[in-house]
């Protein structure tokens, strides 16, 4: 990827984040506004509309400033300009969200205290076993390919490239050097598989009957498919990089960053179209039969700033995000901290592995 290609990638990523931030408030559950449980009618009141408009104005300003700063810095050190503008965008959007969250709090409704569950609900299912084994089969095939072409791999070969396609990190022809990245991909895949299992078996069904329940199940199935697609994307990418160990002059396809952006955009589009928990599907946003504000059947007091959930009494490990798509963790569960530690330690480990 050339320098101009990198600028396009950077602008695309920042535009993607900005669009996501703008559409999220309309994609959450109707009785959650900026992560506060409210009566759905609040959105249509003058004050509710004013909060939404102020948020959108703020998010748009942040997006314009960050994209402009990225463009302005592109003449100098492109990657530094991108990182600075990305930090500006994320910090700005967080501030704008938090202000809207605080402004919404006076309209908070009392969360319903009724919980229900169907005794005859179909058990959640992961995708078929052969589909789950596919990514690992791809990695195994890549390993076999490398083993078969071992003599064609140079003694020292590139494992990382700059955005303009120049190699900037090398490994030697040893088993860890050649197969290390495939092992990293296998660990990433296992992590995604574990996430899929937790999504299927450790998330709460908020509605028990009717269209809302079916929409939730459809949403969960879609999330599982997206996680599986992410596994295939990760393994496909790593397999192409592994192939480049043999075909050193060609290098990995330059389109990988663009493909990653397209994949992330597609994922966001699918989630946004369904709405959080499938609430934008036909009939899914039906009001509660007893007039209660259901929200996500969690109490506001267990949320920190509407994004961090800590509730010792809740057995769920994964909880629907109140602002965003998909799930977050219940940080009262020790498993959540273990997973967080694995992620935080995993990133430096991957960096260390690619350097050695």
């Amino acid at each position: 990827m050339t320098a101009s290609g990198f600028v396009l990638f950077a602008l695309g990523l920042e535009a993607f984040i900005a669009v996501w931030a703008l559409v999220v408030p309309d994609r959450t559950r109707p009785d959650l506004l900026f992560a506060v449980t409210v009566d759905p009618a609040v959105r249509r009141t003058a004050k509710g509309r004013a909060i939404l408009a102020a948020y959108r104005r703020g998010a748009a300003v942040v997006a314009v400033v960050s994209i402009a700063s990225c463009l302005a810095g592109a003449a100098g050190h492109v990657q530094t300009a991108f990182l600075v503008s990305l930090v500006v965008e994320l910090a700005g959007l967080t501030t704008v969200y938090y202000r809207a969250h605080r402004r919404t709090q006076p309209f908070a409704a009392v969360s319903g205290t009724v919980r229900e569950s169907a005794l005859d609900a179909p058990p959640p299912r992961l995708p078929a076993l052969w589909a789950q084994l596919g990514p690992f089969a791809i990695l195994a095939a890549a390993a076999v390919y490398l083993h078969a072409h071992w003599s064609q791999i140079p003694v020292r070969f590139p494992v990382h490239w700059t955005f303009d396609g120049r190699p900037d990190r090398w490994a030697t022809r040893t088993a860890p050097g050649v197969y290390g990245e495939l092992a990293v991909a296998a660990v990433l895949c296992a992590g995604l598989l574990l996430t899929a299992w937790a999504t299927a078996h450790r998330t709460r069904q908020i509605h028990a009957t009717g269209k809302p329940a079916e929409a939730e199940r459809q949403f969960r199935r879609t999330v599982l498919r997206l996680l599986l697609a992410a596994e295939y994307f990760v393994t496909g990418t790593f397999a192409l990089v592994a192939r480049a160990h043999v075909h050193v002059t060609a290098g990995p396809p330059a389109a990988i960053p663009a493909a990653a952006l397209v994949f992330a955009g597609g994922t966001a589009f699918v989630l946004a179209r369904m709405g959080q928990g499938g609430t934008r599907l036909a009939g899914a946003a039906a009001p509660s039969s007893d007039g209660e504000v259901v929200g996500d059947r969690t109490d506001d007091r267990y949320w920190r700033a509407g994004v961090i959930y800590i509730n010792r009494a809740d057995p769920a490990l994964l909880i629907e995000k109140r602002f965003g798509g998909g799930y977050t963790m219940n940080f009262a569960r020790p498993a959540a901290w273990a997973i967080l530690a694995l992620i935080l330690l995993g990133v430096p480990f991957v960096a260390w592995l690619t350097r050695h």
Partner: protein
């Protein structure tokens, strides 16, 4: 009885096999869960051989500790409704109703009177209470 009124929890009047509980209710949560399941057992909608959801799944959906659901299952097992076995989970038994003694009938009558009095205190009209009781009576006669 409409458990939505916040009484002893239990089931809804819909066709779904639901268990409902109200966190504000003075009735213990495990009892609300047991009451809900027992209603389906008595009505015959949960037949012998049917499996109940695993304890962890039901606890997860209801947002309660798994020990609470396990206690409800144990209560129903002691009453002879459920067979609790490792790996098989909770399975509905073919239960023979025990012979009712006069004390249990008196206890039932007193409980019904108290429940009706509480519903009337909470604002339910006498007509509505009678309608619910008649519907229940009709269903019992039919069964």
């Amino acid at each position: 009885m409409d458990p939505r009124a916040g009484g002893s929890g239990g089931v809804t009047m819909t066709d779904a096999l639901l268990v409902r509980l109200d966190l504000r209710s003075s009735v213990a949560i495990y009892e609300q869960i047991a009451n809900g399941i027992r209603t389906h057992l008595v009505s015959g909608r949960l037949r012998p051989g049917a499996s109940l959801p695993p304890v962890r799944d039901l606890a997860l959906n209801l947002g309660v500790h798994h020990n609470t659901v396990a206690e409800a299952y144990r209560l129903l097992a002691r009453e002879g409704w459920l067979d609790l076995r490792r790996k098989r989970g909770a399975v509905v038994c073919d239960r023979e109703a025990p012979r009712a003694d006069p004390a249990s009938e008196a206890k039932f009558a007193q409980g019904l009177s108290e429940l009706t009095a509480k519903a009337l205190t909470d604002g339910l009209s006498g007509t509505a209470a009678a309608r619910h009781l008649e519907r229940l009576a009709a269903q019992l006669r039919k069964d």
